[in-house]
Symmetry: C2
Subunit: 159 residues, 2 copies
């Protein structure tokens, strides 16, 4: 994420905080910045904490937890669970959001652990079809595919 995008999401956070009568604090800006600088890395709470410590030594782990929770509620950050025992967090995409899409999806390599995002139009069809057959109105989704990434598939001669 470049500095212009970072600035934009920072303004977004400030606006949201003001709107709700909450305070703009160093800690909140720093946690957001760490997530912005690590887009696509899927950090755990502990990892976010370690990063923020480098910027603001003395910040408390509890504050990090509280801030992550807040950012998730404000829909600036997505919570991801890769079933490896850790809850992970990733900054949302403003473009994606304004285009009406919700969170993107993940390909998780069960050999090397690499996590790749992907977007797909076919999912829209799937959603329509689900609503048609069940009457269920979809607001958000989470899709995870577990398997072998192209590199590992080649190495393991799976194709």
């Amino acid at each position: 994420m470049n500095s212009k995008e970072r600035k934009k999401i920072e303004e977004e956070l400030k606006d949201l905080l003001r709107e709700k009568g909450l305070k703009i604090t160093q800690q909140r800006l720093i946690v957001l910045r760490v997530l912005a600088e690590n887009r696509g890395k899927h950090l755990t709470a502990e990892e976010i904490y370690r990063e923020t410590c480098g910027i603001l030594p003395g910040i408390g782990l509890a504050t990090v937890y509280r801030t992550i929770q807040l950012l998730t509620q404000l829909e600036l950050v997505d919570r991801i669970n890769l079933d490896d025992g850790f809850v992970r967090y990733e900054i949302g995409d403003l473009e994606e959001k304004s285009a009406g899409h919700h969170r993107h999806h993940h390909l998780i390599c069960i050999n090397c652990g690499k996590i790749m995002p992907f977007e797909h139009d076919l999912l829209d069809n799937l959603e329509c079809s689900v609503t048609d057959t069940t009457g269920f109105i979809i607001r958000d989704h989470e899709v995870k595919f577990y398997g072998y990434c192209a590199g590992c598939a080649k190495k393991l001669k799976l194709n």
Copy 2:
């Protein structure tokens, strides 16, 4: 799940245990039975423990955890994470498995909390398309749709 199906999955477990030189114990059969009797209920470890206590008082929580882990490894049980802070477990479907499908998907109502399973062919198309474009070879998947079930949608006049 009827008694014939329960018997079948119990035999499946016994075969798998023998195959691996593991022992067939009361505890293992009981945990499997509890999961079989609560198909579609998505029980937490604690809930499974409470149920097993009714059948075999004195069973240890640690044993329940160890057994769930074993059953998951044997692919008789699926682990589900609904992001509500609990890891849940559900018995797998032998038919589904032998038909080459992997675990099914969940519609989660964000109003009443109801969880509905669904199967869909469109997902196969999606998988093929993902593999074609990225080279990622899919072995398993997990799909969750969050939204409003038909009942809640009606009540809330969302449609």
